[in-house]
């Protein structure tokens, strides 16, 4: 089984162990581990596009939580705006809902994970945690149905945090400053 499947199973086991004097510790680990199931699913899927298998794990380490969440929020807004303006039809409609499910699950799971790991004032309840963990499984399932869709692949790329430049957006003029002679340039003292 893939790492994300194993992590989800571990999250379910942690939740089921709650109830005794270790209740809060188990529930917190369940929430946190469920998030990492999604995190590793998406980073491994993105890295799998790299043609050299031996470098994929290294590439996966370039993904960072903050930019990934920002990319998910951006994709959620984009999908919602699209549905409001001009709802897609047929297969595209379904693919967009599945992509929304994945992006939304990631945003939700990351915020919960931060609270689970760092917010000691927050008390966790079993039914809440069960539903948090349960939400990751359909996100993984949703991903498997759309992973080869163009929008899904574009989404993976956006998780790296690069600025999304649309084709119509003008490029900045002369992005690279003129090279100066290192010894005689005006900055030299």
């Amino acid at each position: 089984m893939a790492l994300h499947d194993d992590l989800l199973e571990v999250a379910q086991q942690f939740a089921s162990l709650s109830g005794g004097h270790l209740d809060q510790a188990y529930l917190r680990r369940a929430v946190s581990t469920a998030y990492y199931a999604l995190f590793h699913l998406l980073t491994s899927e993105a890295a799998a596009n790299w043609s050299r298998p031996e470098l994929r794990a290294k590439l996966a380490r370039h993904f960072d939580h903050g930019p990934m969440k920002a990319a998910c929020e951006s994709r959620i807004s984009q999908i919602q705006a699209e549905f409001k303006r001009n709802p897609p039809e047929g297969e595209d409609d379904e693919a967009m809902i599945q992509l929304w499910t994945v992006a939304n699950a990631f945003v939700q799971a990351q915020d919960r994970r931060n609270h689970a790991d760092y917010n000691v004032a927050w008390t966790w309840h079993r039914s809440e945690v069960d539903s948090h963990v349960a939400e990751v499984a359909p996100a993984i399932q949703a991903w498997s149905t759309i992973r080869n869709h163009d929008a899904a692949q574009d989404f993976l790329l956006s998780l790296l945090g690069a600025k999304d430049r649309r084709p119509s957006e003008p490029r900045p003029p002369n992005p690279r400053p003129e090279r100066r002679n290192r010894l005689t340039g005006p900055d030299q003292k």
Partner: protein, 108 residues
């Protein structure tokens, strides 16, 4: 001088809560109520934390994840927390019996 932008959900809480209540009514019988709490999320962005109280039978369902995803999607479509109210939505799902226990502990 910069202009301070306060999300609409913060200044029109009663209207916001009414919109949430209306969305909850459309999600019966699984959803008993939705309690919104306006706050900041972990990254400091204006947010709303929805506590969605589900019937005990709904939360014991095998397909709980599908149910909660569908509820989240429908609440977001109906209320449009980000687009109309300027707050990022977060969801917590709780069983009615657990919610009742929590409410009992809160002093009147």
């Amino acid at each position: 001088m910069g202009v301070l932008r306060v999300p609409k959900a913060f200044v029109q809480q009663a209207t916001f809560e009414a919109a949430v209540k209306s969305a909850a009514l459309d999600l019966r019988p699984d959803v008993l109520k939705i309690i919104p709490a306006i706050d900041s999320d972990w990254s400091g962005k204006p947010a709303v934390y929805f506590t969605v109280v589900l019937t005990d039978s709904a939360i014991q369902r095998n397909q709980l994840g599908q149910l909660t995803s569908r509820i989240s999607w429908r609440v977001v479509q109906a209320v449009q927390p980000m687009e109309k109210w300027g707050v990022l939505p977060y969801f917590n799902f709780r069983s009615e019996s657990e919610q009742a226990t929590i409410e009992e502990r809160i002093p009147a």
